[in-house]
């Protein structure tokens, strides 16, 4: 705007002061007004745009982060039980890996929700962000999650029993987790969510193979 206005204006004033006259002044006012409006619009857009860019309360991203936090929290719980109770060094190490990794990921997921000014918890049914997920929640538990009875049995178990129960429960938990993470990668449009969900798919698929080999050894022992 300015650049279009200025050259003729300066030419007029240096040469024939009166030549521009009122029309030119009006034009200048108009340009200034446009500039001000542009600034205001830019300001307004700047205020509103971040809110539009961030996922909302009922978004796929928020649903994924909340549900995966819940799912992870139980994996941490199972892993801590095995870490404290198992006498098999390989299983103690696997349990430490799972517990620390997934607790760390909960931190990532919760802080993104906080960054987006969203509640860390939601009111929607678990996995409601996945189309067609109706009916997959049993007693509030997402696929792969252990029941209270299974958790109680795991707490009581010792030795080989503990190892086998832990590996079996964690295997199922990972299968459910990988499925949910794949849905996250598929449905999310947020790069943070895509990044962490993708890393979960890779890591947990790898761990399932490790669990399978440990499970064979544990059952044979």
């Amino acid at each position: 705007m300015i650049s279009e206005v200025s050259p003729p204006a300066s030419g007029a004033s240096s040469d024939a002061p009166g030549a521009g006259g009122t029309p030119q002044r009006k034009f200048t006012y108009f340009a200034v007004a446009l500039l001000v409006v542009g600034l205001l619009l830019g300001l307004g857009a700047g205020l509103v745009a971040p809110g539009l860019r961030e996922p909302g309360d009922d978004s796929v991203e928020a649903g994924f982060l909340r549900d995966m936090s819940t799912h992870h929290a139980q994996a941490v719980e199972m892993a801590m039980i095995a870490h404290a109770g198992s006498t098999n060094p390989e299983i103690v190490t696997l349990a430490a890996d799972i517990a620390t990794t997934q607790q760390g990921q909960i931190g990532y997921m919760q802080s993104w929700l906080r960054d987006w000014h969203l509640s860390p918890t939601g009111t929607a049914e678990p996995m409601a962000w996945i189309p067609g997920s109706e009916g997959s929640i049993v007693n509030g538990l997402m696929p792969g999650m252990a029941t209270p009875d299974q958790m109680a049995a795991l707490r009581k178990a010792t030795g080989k029993d503990l190892d086998v129960q832990f590996l079996t429960l964690m295997r199922a938990h990972h299968v459910g987790g990988v499925h949910m993470a794949q849905e996250g990668v598929e449905l999310s449009e947020n790069e943070n969510v895509d990044w962490i969900a993708d890393s979960m798919v890779t890591a947990q698929q790898g761990e399932i193979q490790l669990i399978d080999s440990l499970l064979k050894k544990a059952q044979a022992s």
């Binding site: 007029a12 030549a19 521009g20 030119q24 509103v48 139980q74 509030g140």
Partner: protein
């Protein structure tokens, strides 16, 4: 912004015939502005020949751009206003949301040193309220991974779970089974929640987080869900602290080491 300033001073001459005879650039700008019946205003030069009509017309018309600008400013102000309103509205803190629920008692506001006490203490402890909403507590927290305890649990452990951000749903021991089942659906599968009966509760149901408590008569009361929504996890005094690895028994806490010989 400063560029247009100086030009205003010389351009005091009145509307008249001036436009046409000046330099081509001046004619160009003048022809450019009215816009309407000049299809290719940029062309400039020759068109400066018929000065009078365009100038008069433009003089009468200049409310147009002002009106347009005015409308645009209004829209811009509206967008900004909405943006500010929405962001203020959305960021209403959870404490305000919790306190706004009818019947919620805000113990944090009372600044009661005994309730605010967050130290770890051994042995059985006494609390200001029943059930407690805060205060010194056992070093071990009660497991609060959506655990449903069917027997009363130790306050000393439960208060530690509140400190970690859990919602503790308690009900009068002997409450009707269908009411207990309804409460159970609010807890199952949800970490940072747990529930247990309390022997001498003055209302049927009491829901609490650290520093806030809501007592109601029925599990159907929608304020229970409002309270959970407003406070779960958010009420944590130690962000990130876990609900797992806690105590899962319903036994009372062991007596403090120092007084151990004297008791039992």
């Amino acid at each position: 912004m400063s560029t247009p300033g100086p030009e205003r001073v010389p351009s005091t001459v009145k509307v008249g015939k001036t436009t046409g005879q000046g330099k081509p650039p001046a004619g160009k700008s003048a022809a450019n502005r009215p816009g309407g019946n000049r299809p290719a205003g940029k062309g400039g030069k020759g068109k400066g020949r018929k000065p009078v009509t365009p100038v008069k017309v433009s003089g009468g018309r200049n409310w147009g751009p002002i009106a347009v600008a005015g409308i645009v400013v209004l829209i811009a102000a509206g967008i900004i206003g909405y943006g500010v309103f929405a962001s203020v509205q959305g960021s209403k803190p959870w404490e305000e949301q919790a306190a706004a629920i009818e019947g919620v008692v805000d113990y944090r506001a009372q600044k009661n040193a005994q309730i605010d006490d967050r130290t770890h203490k051994e042995g059985q402890l006494t609390y200001v309220t029943n059930p407690p909403v805060g205060g010194a507590h056992n070093a071990t927290w009660q497991n609060c991974m959506g655990d449903v305890y069917t027997q009363p649990i130790a306050n000393e452990h439960a208060v530690h779970s509140l400190e970690h951000g859990a919602v503790w749903i308690t009900y009068k021991q002997g409450l009707a089974a269908d009411q207990v089942e309804k409460l159970q659906t609010k807890v199952e599968g949800k970490e940072y929640t747990f529930m247990s009966p309390v022997a001498n509760l003055d209302k049927n149901i009491s829901v609490q987080v650290w520093g806030y408590q809501l007592k109601v008569d029925s599990a159907d009361d929608s304020r229970i869900d409002d309270f959970i929504r407003a406070t779960r996890v958010k009420a944590s005094m130690e962000p990130g602290a876990a609900c797992s690895s806690g105590n899962t028994s319903t036994d009372p806490v062991p007596a403090a080491a120092a007084s151990a010989p004297a008791t039992e």
